[in-house]
Amino acid sequence: MRMTGAEALIKSLEKEGVEVIFGYPGGVVLPIYDALYDNKKIRHVLVRHEQCAGHAADAYARATGKVGVCLVTSGPGATNLVTGIANAWMDSVPIVAITGQVATHVIGTDAFQEADITGITMPITKHNYLVKDVNQLPSTVKQAFLLAKTGRPGPVLIDLPVDISKAEIDFKYPEDASIPGYKPTYKGHMKQIKEAAKLLVQAEKPIIYAGGGIIKSEAWDELRQLAELVQIPVTTTLMGKGAFPDDHPLSLRMLGMHGTRYANYAIMDSDLIFAVGVRFDDRVTGKISTFAPHATIIHVDIDPAEISKNIPAHLPIVGDAKIVLKDLVAEIKKGKTPHSDKTRWHELIASWKKKYPLHYHQDGAIRPEYVVETINKLTKDMDVIVTTGVGQNQMWAAQFYSANKPRSFISSGGLGTMGFGLPAAIGAQIGRPDAVVIDIDGDGSIQMVSQELATVAANKLPIIIAILNNGYLGMVRQWQELFYKKRYSQVDLNVGTPDFVKLAEAYGIKGVRVTDIGDVSKILKKAIKDRKPILIDFMVAREENVFPMVAPGASIDEMLGGIPGASLSQMIDEEEEEVGSEAHLISSSGK
């Protein structure tokens, strides 16, 4: 069929099953927007800043498991999208970003709105393409989707010059893509898996450290089978929240810098770490040289480059988490090796859980933790998606919201992009219209993207925007309090911050301010029931800190805070004696 490049692009997207594009028009993408004008199959969601097209596509992909698609113009459109792409890159999210480009004959002349976006995004895409021949367009789209969603997923960019969009082509969509240099390994090596099975059942103090890879390969059932079969406690990363139910008896919840004390103690004291779909990020390991000194490490990942990148693995297994875990469970079920007695390990963990639960002060002020806890209580058993900003709001959400289902917690992990929460909520809500989507955000984060309230209003998205408003760039303030002698440099946002209720109303969205702890539950309950866009401005205790916390550069069992009933200085002293002695106790008894 004869058509223009722009029409061929849209047709190719249809063939890939694309239902939604998040985008923003401009000069060189006019032919594409013209092709979209009459299209009945693909919905276009107009954002108000290109960065948010990237984040929305990113969260759409995380919420649905499909590939997210965004479309922007050349030059500033493309450079504005860079943060969105980088965010998807760091968290391995499959998106296809389409950027317009100036006409091929003026590329390289610093033409109006020209930017070398393939050059700029080379380090933050899995691959990118500059299409210089319209006949290559369908196969390029085919390849882009294949690359984005297979292997270790990631963003792929297609840069499309305007003359290519206008050129004519006999459209035929290829059946499959041939990419000679691309062969991900899915099946794990059986010899390694057998060895892993043996190590797992024999270990006395094993722990599973699971991450975003579980959600990407949809391996949550297999992970749970493994944990329950061998009775191994599971800790998850921020990206792995939802990979294993936070409320499961074997769950240790999140580990790392703001992880639970019991997760951090357990991984440090373990004799075997089964790491799957994780990358030993510095926010997880703390000081590398002291990390888990007694543990044998089994590392499963689809990306061989992640294995032994930060911490050497004793037993590497390259493969897809779902396939490897299935093989591993089958191998363990053969029952070749007798299971070790893990009673003492579970007892020790239970004692840590009892002694160091996540908690916060309850003194009548609205503590941000209380808001998250209330959201958690009120949404139990609902189809919920929580998105977050970045900073304290994100860590409180990670600590006090129990993700018990996969794809229910969407946060910017690797890049730590402030402003992710609102566009992510938009992408998630459009991908899963029936889900209750709650953006737990900060007053700093949301101001980076508040223009997207227009997108919420225009699309009547029933998102609950819960701002934990402390009038500070809270996490930076917390670091300044703890490590920079309370010299609060450039973190007080109170002056200049808009009245968020009025701001919401300016966009035609309902806004409510909550200043009394007694109203928190009531207002949230109503918001969840109403299914209409709402912004709730929770005026929370200003100088609340996120605890526990591992100081930068410290070992992850050296945590500040998080001991019920103790002041900060007491906590630091106590921790050293008590944990030291307990760990000593079990390691001497175990050997």
Binding site: K126, H127, L130, G181, D303, P304, A305, S308, K309, P312
Partner: protein
């Protein structure tokens, strides 16, 4: 430790930038890099010399493999490979010194490829040590300009193949 990586890549625009960009952003140093098409015009060979310990080499290789345009990587073992570099040296050679310089070049089986009133340009191929030796001997005359291709290398043919 020095390693010579022989990397087959798709012969497409931007591939060199992808490879060199990967090295710089991950903090790997390239000592030399030579690139050109192979017997198959769709495929180029990059010969990359790097100084890296085993862990770092492993990481470099794995990261290179992730580039979609990279087809094959071999870490060439010096014992089982042949390597060459080509160097052009423009050296001062006034009439009274010219014979000396030519004689030195001849000892190394180097070629004189350009002559002017005051200079000679010498072409030499060989291993790094041979080239270094000639360079050292020519330095006292005054080297005006020097250019090298960077090392290129191939694994030796297997006995069965020859």
């Amino acid at each position: 430790m020095k390693h010579i990586l022989s990397v087959l890549v798709e012969n497409k625009p931007g591939v060199l930038a992808r490879v060199s960009g990967l090295f710089s952003r991950r903090g790997f140093n390239i000592e030399s890099l030579a690139v050109g098409p192979t017997e198959d015009p769709n495929i180029s060979r990059m010969t990359i010399v790097i100084d890296a310990d085993d862990l770092k080499l492993e990481q470099i290789t794995k990261q290179l493999h992730k580039l979609v345009n990279v087809l094959k990587i071999s870490d060439l073992d010096p014992k089982d490979s042949v390597e060459r570099e080509l160097v052009l040296i423009k050296v001062n050679a006034p009439p009274d010194k010219r014979a000396e310089v030519v004689e030195t070049a001849n000892i190394f089986r180097a070629n004189i490829i350009d002559v002017s009133k005051t200079t000679l340009t010498i072409e030499i191929t060989g291993t790094a040590t041979k080239i270094q030796a000639l360079e050292d001997l020519l330095r006292p005359y005054g080297i005006k300009e020097l250019v090298r291709t960077g090392k290129i290398a191939l694994a030796r043919g297997k006995l069965a193949e020859t």
